[in-house]
Symmetry: C2
Subunit: 240 residues, 2 copies
């Protein structure tokens, strides 16, 4: 099978790096179609473990330097995994809802925090960045394989599927600070695009929330705002 730089239309994507590929093989071996190593890959230590796990799961391992030239031209990666894309399906319960996120690295960072705080069902409202983009997978540090991501055409489709969820929209124009919100489960924590935030109309069908901050900045960065939102809503659960 030909190796090509990742594009949205493809039915597979890649894990660039050993740790990430280990997460793939450990958490979703049924999706892994093959693993590439390069002639520079040292087969000792962690890599040995990884190859053993590939053997147990009957995942083919190819020595293929060309794959690295094509997929990781900067050359800072010695193991690559190829995996089949599988669309997620949101379960009932609380969700994180990202409306129109545009940056793959940001999306990956948010997935990492979401897995960390146990919000493992994530709705993405289109248009939005592709969650299978290797940059998103990489920024998630493997959390990608612990969460469930479903894309929706628009927020109305999402609301029709989960009408019982209490919707909290994080907006700079909101007047209720996050600490004053009474948390009602199941909830949907909704955040907008990096540059534009959420459209004003979200105030018509959501309780609006603000994370108060000084006027020295225009807004918090999206992964930071999403992470504080998830932290505040889930922290009872993680109390020591």
């Amino acid at each position: 099978m030909k190796i090509q730089r990742y594009r949205h239309e493809m039915d597979h994507s890649y894990t660039l790096g050993a740790t990430l590929t280990f997460e793939l093989v450990k958490c979703a071996p049924e999706l892994a179609s093959r693993i590439f190593i390069s002639s520079e890959t040292e087969l000792s230590g962690g890599i040995g473990e990884l190859l053993k796990l590939c053997g147990q799961n009957e995942i083919p391992v190819e020595k293929n330097d060309k794959a690295f030239n094509i997929l990781s031209p900067k050359g800072n990666c010695f193991v690559i995994g190829e995996f089949r894309k599988r669309s997620g399906k949101l379960r009932e319960g609380s969700h994180l809802v990202l409306a129109n996120p545009s940056d793959a690295g940001n999306l990956g960072t948010i997935l990492r925090t979401a897995a960390g705080f146990g919000l493992k069902d994530i709705a993405v409202i289109s248009p939005a960045v592709d969650c299978f983009d290797p940059k998103a997978v990489r920024a998630s540090m493997g959390a990608f394989f612990h969460v469930n991501i479903e894309y929706f055409e628009n927020i109305q489709d999402y609301m029709a599927r989960f009408p019982q969820n209490h919707r909290y929209a994080f907006m700079l124009t909101a007047s209720t600070p996050i600490r004053r919100i009474s948390i009602r489960e199941p909830y949907s924590l909704i955040l907008g695009n990096e540059a534009a935030g959420l459209p004003e109309e979200y105030a018509d069908f959501c309780e609006t929330v603000i994370i108060p901050h000084s006027r020295d900045i225009d807004s918090l960065n999206l992964p930071i705002a999403a992470s504080i939102a998830m932290y505040e809503f889930t922290k009872e659960k993680w109390e020591g």
Copy 2:
């Protein structure tokens, strides 16, 4: 004066982009040595405002396409500011302390949140990434010009200067979750390197704190952990 790609040894750095350059000229006009515009820069709207402000502050404006080729080869930037580097000096009070951060983008994102939550005095313990790196300045979205950053050779030097501060070290090996901590001011919120975290010895001279999370991830990303720490410690102040 010759234009060169930024290096640590230089006595000046750059703001890449109009919004960022606007923050420079507004918040620290005394540091701005010159502003570059390109032949593609549209002189209307916000740029007009910026040029007016430069005039008022006697900051020279040069049309210089070469500056853009050297400093922003990707070509997504139409205004560049050149500014003199000035070392900050920490004031008494509460601080954020970053021990050995290694990524410029992460540092910038943290500065943005720090300015947002009013923690405007930031100690950086060497070795560490250069806060004047244009990537850090850019990721701060201008917050760089609202905060005060001082580098210390080691944590002992920092402690000798601010012995009265209550030190909270964020470590994965800590047993006290962040919500159970009693906050004593002035405080120092201390976070370690992206990959290595804080050395164990910090437990000898700090109260250790953990932000609890699931086992699906190894750790939170550094800017996320730092932001949640700052949010939790400052939130009384920002109550609506």
